[in-house]
Amino acid sequence: MGFNGTSPLLDQRGELRPEDFGAIRELSMNPIGDRIISAFFSPGKETVDFASFVRILAHFHPTETSRSRDGVQPEPANSRTRKLKFAFQLYDQDRDGKISREELLQVLRTMLEMQVTEEQLQSIAERAIQEADLDQDDAISFDEFRKSLEKVDIDHKMSIRFLS
């Protein structure tokens, strides 16, 4: 990967700051672009170094299906659970382990922009929480999140083709 080699911004420092991500035009037009950027940085830190950068991107490596499982090995970064956890944290900005109705509304609002009215947004969020919330605490925990996505092929959806 050309982290250190190709981009002139990085040679001097070997670290990334949020502004460097901002230079990617498509990312700035992405509705959840800023959330993605902040996902690279550990809470409180202003910079991310190469190792952490790679660790984050390792989540998107395609899962190998034929791995032998022994309990000793730590769970790989690109397992389904870790991928889902990454997605979960995009919602859960305050890291309390739950997606509250407000957090869901915020994400919905950025994704749907000005296409919908406030009432429609409320009803969509209401419906989503209804479907997923099993313990009736008006928020979606990680397990509920995972359960609601059990039919989706996360392994394929959240993998990047680094080479073809």
Binding site: M1, G2, F3, T6, S7, E19, F21, G22, A23, R25, E26, L27, S28, M29, N30, P31, I32, G33, I36, L57, F60, P62, A87, L90, L104, L105, V107, R109, T110, M111, L112, E113, M114, Q115, V116, T117, E118, E119, Q120, Q122, S123, I124, E126, R127, A128, Q130, E131, F145, S148, L149, K151, V152, I154, K157, M158, I160, R161, F162, L163, S164
Partner: protein
């Protein structure tokens, strides 16, 4: 219903015109009602100069004056009306692909002409096909080629195109020779070289047929680009092998050196076509830089230069298809940056129109040309050709994929392989090539066999591929209705992946691609693109961004959903509207996922009417303001407006300067 009847009346009228034309005697004989009106005048239709004292003709018909263009226009008219008719008859296009229907119309017309004239109807001449009918289709395909996906999969595509075609050609040729040896009585005079020649023209997958059938199937983009890219690039190999075997046939003997030279020719033909296309593409881009004062003819340059590249490479016996595709791919980004919006739309629209007409004509002529006197039938040859084509293609795809999957991250699944193998349709290129063979005793057999293979692949494979795809459940756009949470979370993940891909793409680019981008920015773009288009100031870009968002907001708002706070199951309409909201938003935003290539329509952006914008902008601003006052929580609405408007695009654009 009434429309359908009028359309079919028009269609049958057009059908009978050629029949009537067939009845008119050839031009040499004098037409009794075309006598020159009086002594002093010259006759416009050539031969007759009888000086009879006749009265002035008030009304006369001079058909031969306009015969050639008239007939051409009538054929095109027939093709277009047939196309219209099929799209009007609701259920039929879903079952039978358009190419089949067109061939059937062609068969009908050919039959009528044959029945009336008792001689063969006009056939598709190879020159007309290669010089006039094929280029628009290939140009259209090349112009709308999804560049990123194509280059990502280029290795695999080349692998299939070059090696796969070689495998097919040699396999089919050699096994056909084996079949001929087994039946020496009827097929004994077909030599090995003839079999190889036949193999080379029948093995090639045809882009026209493939496109028209895959059009109606919605397979995933990767599969589409694999099959389509392969059909485009195998032209180089096909052309070389065909010409090679043809020249071998003319040589008294073939030595090892000739074979080696043949191998070099593949490289020369392929790369030569590439360079010719590159050259013309760059010249076209440069020319378009200066079209600001004569914007009306800017689209013309696109077509002229592409056609010129095709003709030049055909002249040099290089691969014309590769040249025209390369030309289109090269000039696209520069031309689109240089010409006005209207010119851009014109280019796209005309490309679609011409390629559509061309394709329709090709299929109709395929049908017409099938009706001939010159068929020679041989059960063993025809059936074995069909079988061998299928078998060799299947084994070729299996073998090649087994190797290439080890090198790819995204494997080509078994189901994809089936579609690639089964979707290898043959079309008009084979047909024209078989007519070009030098005459030898069994040429008619080859022609008949080619026609049978084409009809078989287009009809049988074309019609059954869709049910088979549904049966095998190839990875397509999902039809199963997901729950709302699934939709929302899936959308989030899609956005996330798009963002990550942008990050990775930005910093993890392949070395050569990165180098090319730097070269592009430093030299090519400065040279080929007009100066005032190069770096619009950030304010202008913010303004453009706002306009774009306004326009999206102008689109018809979905019906208001009934809001109730108690939990009740949502009605299907409400779920539908929610789903529509979610899906439309993703389409609007994530341009990478919308497939621009469609034979029948242009991509949505290109057809938006710019002139409506200023009026709507004021309205929508007013609307947005009233939304904000109605919002339950003013703080949220305010922040929403602020965020959605300037801030995001601003952070994006400031950095670009």
């Amino acid at each position: 219903m009434a429309a359908l009847w009028t359309l079919s009346l028009l269609l049958s009228a057009c059908l009978f015109w050629p029949a009537c034309l067939a009845l008119t005697p050839p031009a040499e004989l004098p037409q009794p009602h075309n006598l020159p009106p009086s002594l002093g005048f010259n006759s416009s239709d050539g031969s007759l100069s009888v000086d009879l004292p006749m009265a002035l003709r008030v009304f006369s018909v001079d058909y031969h004056h306009v015969q050639a263009p008239f007939e051409i226009v009538l054929w095109i008219m027939l093709a277009s009306l047939a196309k219209l008719g099929f799209h009007w008859s609701g259920r039929v296009p879903a079952v039978v692909p358009e190419s089949c229907l067109l061939i059937m119309v062609g068969l009908l017309v050919g039959g009528v002409i044959y029945g009336v004239r008792h001689s063969a109807p006009p056939t598709l001449s190879a020159d007309a096909f290669f010089l006039f009918l094929l280029p628009p289709i290939v140009l259209d395909a090349g112009y709308f080629l999804p560049g990123k996906l194509f280059f990502e999969n280029l290795g695999t595509i080349l692998w299939y195109a070059v090696l796969g075609t070689l495998w097919n050609v040699l396999g089919i040729g050699l096994s056909l020779y084996g079949v001929c040896l087994l039946a020496p009585s009827s097929l004994g005079d077909i030599s090995l070289l003839h079999c190889l020649l036949f193999g080379s023209l029948i093995a090639a997958v045809d882009p026209v047929a493939v496109l028209s059938v895959f059009q109606e199937m919605h397979v995933n983009d990767q599969l589409h680009i694999l099959v389509f890219g392969e059909s485009l690039l195998n032209d180089a190999v096909t052309v070389v092998l065909y010409k090679l075997f043809e020249s071998f046939l003319r040589l008294p003997s073939v030595s090892g050196l000739d074979v080696l030279l043949g191998g070099c020719r593949v490289l020369v033909v392929g790369l030569g076509g590439l360079f010719v296309g590159l050259f013309f593409g760059l010249v076209a881009a440069l020319t378009s830089r200066f079209t600001s004062r004569a914007q009306v003819i800017a689209p013309l340059f696109v077509f002229l230069y592409s056609y010129l590249s095709y003709l030049t490479s055909e002249m040099l016996h290089l691969s014309g298809i590769m040249a025209i595709v390369t030309c289109a791919v090269t000039m696209k980004q520069y031309v689109e940056a240089n010409v006005s919006e209207r010119s851009k739309t014109s280019i796209q629209y005309f490309l679609k129109m011409w390629s559509s007409v061309s394709e329709t004509l090709i299929f109709i002529f395929l049908g017409v040309s099938t009706i001939q006197d010159v068929h020679m039938w041989s059960w063993s040859f025809v059936c074995s050709t069909l079988l061998l084509c299928l078998i060799w293609r299947a084994t070729g795809v299996l073998l090649l994929t087994a190797v290439v999957n080890k090198l790819r991250r995204n494997t080509v699944t078994f189901r994809d392989q089936f579609i690639i193998a089964y979707g290898g349709l043959r079309g008009a290129i084979c047909f024209s090539l078989v007519f070009l063979i030098d005459d030898f005793p069994k040429k008619r057999l080859f022609i008949t066999t080619t026609i049978v293979v084409i009809l078989f692949t287009v009809f049988v494979q074309g019609m059954t591929i869709k049910p088979l795809v549904e049966l095998l459940d190839v990875k397509r756009k999902k039809r199963a209705l997901p729950t709302v949470s699934e939709e929302i979370h899936s959308r989030l993940i899609d956005h996330l992946l798009a963002g990550i891909e942008d990050v990775v793409g930005y910093w993890g680019q392949h070395y050569w691609k990165d180098k090319f981008e730097q070269f592009n920015k430093k030299y090519l773009r400065r040279f080929l693109i007009r100066d005032d288009h190069q770096a619009p100031s950030s304010i202008l870009r913010v303004y453009q961004e706002l306009e774009r968002r306004d326009q999206r907001g102008d689109e018809e708002a979905p019906p208001l959903v009934d809001t109730r706070s108690d939990s009740r199951p949502l009605l299907p309409e409400e779920m539908d509207s929610i789903r529509r909201i979610l899906s439309r938003n993703l389409q609007n935003f994530n341009n990478k996922q919308t497939r621009a290539y469609s034979r029948h329509t242009l991509h949505q952006d290109a057809t938006m009417d710019r002139t409506r914008k200023p009026l709507h902008r004021h309205q929508s601003l007013g609307e947005r303001y009233t939304f904000n006052t109605q919002g339950e929580d003013g703080e949220f609405s305010g922040s929403r407006r602020g965020r959605a408007g300037l801030s995001r695009s601003h952070t994006g654009t400031v950095k670009d300067i």
